[in-house]
């Protein structure tokens, strides 16, 4: 892979930006850091979500399922295995689960996929709850010496990985194939692209990334129970943030994550019962006002200014 001068410049700038945000724990207080953790967590989830859903237009609501599985990997595994093995383990389990989901649904139309992924988190939650009722165990305590700052840095590392991966996929044959699938699946199939395989391969990314994110965040919850780990809200928030930012660019979801996190925090503190309403209104805003997200909006503004000779 050969890198152009622009690539080098972008890489250097990204590394500098990463180094800067890594200093956050020393710059802000506890509340600021917890917002930081939330933002990086959703950046990781929404960006990896958009890597799959951007080009394929399949709306995945399985984030909560993968995330929950990841938290349980840490919750159960911490008793038996050293911590550093748990994150890759969660990634592998997430990828396997994603492959199974993909094999079952990605050959079919998008609607089946949405329903399947929506039900997945609920399915796993009911099964775990049932298992707990049978065995008599309730939740799991995750007691570690991992601090909020450690969680923050781990998530940041994961975010860097996701961005590198997205960048690499964009340059690869797989990325090229996916762009064609996104434009017209018929054309893609006729030009010899194995569309189902490409989609399944790509679906492994959000699956394993969400599972690793769950595994990283488990120590933050201290006490894990199914209704907390598999909360369906998470899936919807990720979808909204990614679409709000725009899935057309790698950095798009980030532009959605930051304002939405602050909005969500604000609403949760002032009128906690109306977060559902906020989710609903956001969906409508995305469909009717921002169909291409903020990224599309920036593009439209730049074009308009360009045509008027301002830029």
């Amino acid at each position: 892979m050969r890198l152009s001068p622009t690539d080098w410049r972008n890489l250097t700038l990204s590394a500098l930006a990463l180094a800067f945000v890594a200093c956050l724990p020393w710059l802000v207080g506890n509340y600021g850091l917890s917002i930081g953790v939330t933002i990086v967590m959703y950046t990781v989830l929404a960006t990896s979500w958009a890597l799959f859903s951007g080009p394929t237009h399949y709306i995945s609501l399985a984030t909560a399922a993968f995330f929950g599985v990841g938290t349980y990997v840490t919750g159960i595994g911490i008793e038996y295995l050293p911590y550093w093995t748990l994150l890759p383990l969660a990634g592998v389990i997430g990828a396997v689960l994603a492959a199974l989901v993909g094999l079952a649904t990605l050959r079919l139309s998008g609607v089946y996929f949405v329903i399947f992924t929506l039900g997945l988190a609920e399915f796993i939650r009911q099964v775990i709850t049932w298992g707990q009722n049978v065995s008599g165990a309730k939740g799991i305590y995750v007691l570690t010496s991992i601090t909020e700052a450690h969680i923050y840095w781990q998530l940041l590392g994961l975010a860097a990985l996701v961005y590198l991966l997205g960048w690499a996929i964009g340059r690869s044959r797989l990325g090229f194939a996916l762009r064609i699938i996104g434009d017209d699946e018929q054309v893609a199939r006729h030009s010899g692209i194995h569309t189902a395989r490409a989609k399944i391969l790509l679906f492994l990314v959000p699956g394993s990334v969400a599972a690793i994110t769950g595994a990283i965040l488990a120590p933050r919850y201290v006490y894990i129970e199914p209704s907390l780990a598999f909360t369906p809200m998470l899936s919807f928030q990720v979808v909204i943030m990614a679409l709000l930012g725009g899935t057309g660019r790698l950095w798009g979801p980030l532009v959605g994550v930051i304002p939405f996190t602050f909005l969500w925090e604000g609403i949760s503190i002032t009128v906690p019962n109306q977060t559902t309403l906020l989710l609903g209104v956001s969906f409508l805003v995305i469909v009717y006002l921002l169909p291409k997200g903020f990224v599309g909006l920036f593009g439209a503004i730049r074009r308009r200014m360009g045509s008027e000779g301002l830029v």
Binding site: I59, L108, G110, L118, E122, W130, V281, F283, V287
Partner: protein, 288 residues
């Protein structure tokens, strides 16, 4: 034996709900994920009329149905018609309508939470036992089942025999050709969508006589209705009824023999099996 009868009674009511969704998805081609909220709203209406004025839920249906019809017609005109117009492909419309109806679903959950609060609500109506084949069942379940059968039957007759029914089936099978023979596809789709909403709300009013609902249970019913519709075959009334009865039986079996907390998990497993074995539905024909 009582499991089978209870399952069939539950399945009958499910059939009504799924029929509503099938009208919306199969005929109007809108995947309405806010369908369950329409059901809960119907249930709320029945609850409210019963507690405030002792109006029987079986009569409330006659108020709920026209109101839900009007509300769904408005939803179609205001929110969905612009999407149908701007969509360049079926896939685009699918994504847009999924996001929009999710939005509408959350908005209505939020509004219902604000108006009614997050409490469970139930009321006792016709809660005396009825004896069938030696076992006793709640009269409310039987009444709901009988009403569901009557409504499903009427709907089926209407779709199968009347001219309006024929037109609706035409737009379900071939929307483009339907336009060529002088059918106003937009108008008929709005009609099918509104009718579907009315049927689902009616189902909600009936189901509230024996199930406990709260503002956020809608999505459970949406999932179940979707599973039934896909299992029975999109746009297929006969398949929907059989799939609904099958789901009612399965849920009752799982709830009585294993654990009541696993009913949705069981429905989901059934869905997975259907997807893997017969993605076109029980009676559907392979299209591609």
């Amino acid at each position: 034996m009582d499991i089978i009868v209870t399952g069939l009674l539950l399945g009958g009511t499910y059939a009504l709900i799924a029929m509503g969704l099938n009208l919306q998805y199969g005929m109007a081609r809108i995947m309405n994920l806010a369908n369950g909220e329409m059901l809960v709203a119907g249930g709320f209406a029945a609850f409210w009329f019963w507690t405030a004025a002792q109006v029987s839920p079986l009569l409330t249906v006659f108020i709920v149905a026209p109101v839900a019809f009007a509300a769904n017609w408005l939803i179609y005109i205001v929110f969905l018609r612009p999407l149908v117009k701007r969509a360049r492909s079926r896939g685009q419309l699918e994504v847009d309508s999924i996001l929009t109806t999710f939005g509408l679903s959350f908005v209505s959950v939020g509004l219902m939470l604000a108006v009614f609060g997050g409490d469970y609500f139930s009321y006792s109506y016709l809660s005396f036992p009825v004896h069938i084949l030696g076992d006793s069942y709640g009269a409310n379940r039987v009444a709901a089942f009988v009403s569901a059968v009557i409504i499903c039957g009427a709907l089926w007759l209407w779709l199968d025999r009347s001219r309006a029914g024929l037109t609706i089936r035409a737009i379900a099978v071939a929307p483009d050709s339907a336009r060529l023979v002088g059918i106003d596809v937009g108008k008929m789709a709005a009609l099918a969508f509104a009718l579907g909403g009315a049927v689902t709300a009616t189902g909600g009013a009936l189901i509230s006589t024996f199930l406990t609902l709260d503002a956020s249970t809608g999505v459970m019913f949406t999932l179940k209705a979707l599973i039934i519709v896909i299992m029975g075959g999109v746009g297929d009334i006969r398949g929907t009824i059989i799939a609904a009865l099958a789901l009612g039986l399965l849920e009752t079996f799982v709830a009585t023999l294993i654990d009541p907390g696993l009913t949705l998990a069981a429905a989901y497993l059934l869905f997975v099996v259907i997807l893997l074995v017969r993605p076109q539905g029980l009676f559907g024909r392979r299209t591609t």
